[in-house]
């Protein structure tokens, strides 16, 4: 253990905070979790925040006069403020709680989109989008008569910006993922946001794969909307958020309606509440919002700069070691090197289908994802029926990469690759 690089030593300590990583798998192995792009594991601190909420001050919020209702309301709104600070929003009112990034995108497509898109307008996305940042825009385009266009990517999954201005001509919205969940590509946001704004388009960023992994400043980037899922950033399932510029959110009609998002209601007429509550209908996911607040505390404690540096280092190490499998027919996809990508590596090994690879790795306690990663059109464009994907987070170490390599060697042997 003395040979551990200092950053890896920190990750090993981090590992101890995650109960699921302390327990052996059913086959007696330690769990090597390389699927954080799908969902992250949860530190004890987040689990404890949930338990504390339910054991000590569970109550419905906003209208309760009694003590535990006040505590719950305070903790819930403080969690919102934590999120706002984490992405550097100007005000907590710019953070709307949703179930996940998908719901946040749907909120914008229904509330803002149906009002602002007209025949002849364009919505621009990229060829990298996750279905969640694609299907809502397909339907919006269909319902409004707007056109949906795509910024292309090259064979490495890197954005091709040659025709950017032409693509953005007539666009009302640029909707794009900050980081590709399939290839790890980091979008050149400064350039894209600038071009979109010059073309008169708003920018919605799908931050599902960026916000968990490095510091994202919505004001420095001048984003109009950003959608994020809590479960990918150490938070509980069932909570996510939409960031929206105050003036935009204020002008938007409500989406889901019902209790809590109203100001006053008569049988035939309703006045709506202020933002952010205007968009939060019904009883909120109080516990999980508070849990996400605890996750953000944990990430802040680690420092997002360390998180990013650790992932770059680990990704570089993995890319380096994967070369050993080149002679077995390993193909690694995505941008060249570790710097222009997040901690995500998609690959295929010889003619082994990604699902078979994942099954074999599973017997060694290694969790990777296999398939289309909810980016079917990208897979089609690239000509890959499926890929295997390993993705890293704060609790992964070089030992995890070593286990991956070893298990891939074993799979190659089982499949008798060269």
């Amino acid at each position: 253990m003395t040979s551990l690089a200092p950053a890896d030593a920190k990750a090993s300590r981090v590992q101890l905070d995650f109960p699921i990583l302390r327990k052996p798998t059913s086959r007696g192995r330690r769990l090597v979790y390389l699927d954080s792009a799908a969902t992250s594991q949860k530190p004890q601190a987040v689990i404890d925040a949930l338990v504390r909420y339910y054991s000590e001050y569970n109550a419905n919020i906003h209208r309760g006069v009694y003590e535990i209702a006040e505590l719950a309301t305070e903790a819930f709104e403080e969690a919102r403020a934590k999120v706002a600070r984490f992405v550097n929003a100007a005000h907590p009112a710019e953070i709307v709680w949703t179930r996940n990034a998908t719901e946040a995108i749907n909120l914008v497509s229904h509330s803002w989109g149906l009002e602002h898109l007209h025949p002849g307008d364009a919505i621009v996305a990229t060829q990298l989008e996750h279905h969640s940042n694609l299907v809502p825009w397909q339907l919006l385009a269909k319902r409004t008569g707007a056109e949906l266009r795509f910024i292309p990517v090259d064979e490495r999954g890197v954005h091709v910006l040659d025709n950017l201005d032409r693509l953005l001509d007539g666009a009302k919205l640029l909707a794009l993922s900050h980081v590709s969940n399939t290839l790890g590509t980091i979008a050149p946001l400064e350039r894209l946001v600038d071009a979109a704004h010059r073309a008169g388009a708003l920018v919605l960023v799908d931050g599902a794969q960026s916000v968990p992994h490095f510091s994202v400043d919505v004001r420095a980037l001048d984003l109009d909307f950003m959608a994020v899922s809590g479960h990918k950033m150490l938070g509980p399932t069932g909570i996510g958020f939409l960031y929206g510029k105050r003036t935009l959110l204020e002008a938007m009609p409500p989406f889901l309606t019902g209790g809590d998002m109203i100001r006053s209601v008569a049988y035939t007429q309703t006045d709506f509440n202020q933002i952010p509550w205007k968009f939060e209908a019904g009883t909120s996911n109080v516990a999980d919002a508070i849990g996400l607040g605890a996750a953000i505390d944990y990430l802040n404690e680690l420092g997002m700069d360390w998180v990013r540096a650790h992932e770059v280092r680990l990704t570089a190490y993995a890319l380096e070691r994967l070369v050993e499998l080149a002679e077995r027919g390993l193909a690694v996809y995505g941008p060249p090197g570790a710097e222009p990508r997040a901690g995500v590596i998609s690959f295929n090994l010889g003619d082994i289908h990604a699902h078979d690879l994942a099954s074999i790795l599973d017997t060694d306690g290694i969790c990777i994802r296999a398939g289309h990663h909810c980016t079917m059109p990208l897979m089609e464009r690239m000509g890959w029926p499926a890929t295997a994907r390993a993705s890293f987070y704060i609790y992964n170490t070089e030992a995890d990469v070593d286990a991956l390599i070893e298990s891939l060697q074993k799979a190659a042997k089982i499949f008798k690759l060269a």
Binding site: R63, G64, V65, E67, A69, E70, R263
Partner: protein, 133 residues
């Protein structure tokens, strides 16, 4: 919180001062607390020097919001409108005399919020050189 319901609070709740509406009011505002449904309306008559000549409030709600508005109404008469616009929370807290829980703070402050917004609304209509008086 039960200490809060002193004799003088209940007195203001049951016999609110300056309750009703004002013929020829020049500054008016109304608001409600959407969480509990409390409503307060303030009406001022302002003299040419920008001083509150007369004041009435109306509304409905809990003892805290109504007593606090009633006490505030007594403070406001004779004040310069510009000073009404600058009133801070402490004035109201001094009026009601005792700390209250965060959930009920909105009730205490509802009257103040309405009175200030009536004052600000009126001032906004003045010629610019007078707005800062």
């Amino acid at each position: 919180m039960d200490d809060f319901y002193k004799e003088y609070i209940l007195d203001h709740y049951r016999q609110p001062r300056n309750f009703g509406s004002l013929e020829g009011a020049t500054a008016v505002a109304e608001d409600l607390n959407p969480l509990c449904g409390d409503r307060i309306r303030f009406e001022f008559k302002v003299d040419p020097n920008g001083v509150v000549e007369d004041v009435r409030f109306s509304g409905r709600g809990c003892a805290i919001s109504q007593a606090s508005a009633s006490m505030l109404s007594e403070t406001l008469r004779g004040m310069k409108l510009a000073d009404v616009a600058r009133l801070d929370k402490q004035t109201v807290l001094d009026n009601v005399g005792i700390g209250i829980s965060p959930a009920r703070l909105k009730c205490v402050m509802l009257g103040l919020k309405v009175a200030k917004s009536a004052a600000l609304g009126e001032i906004a209509g003045w010629p610019e050189e007078e707005q800062s008086t």
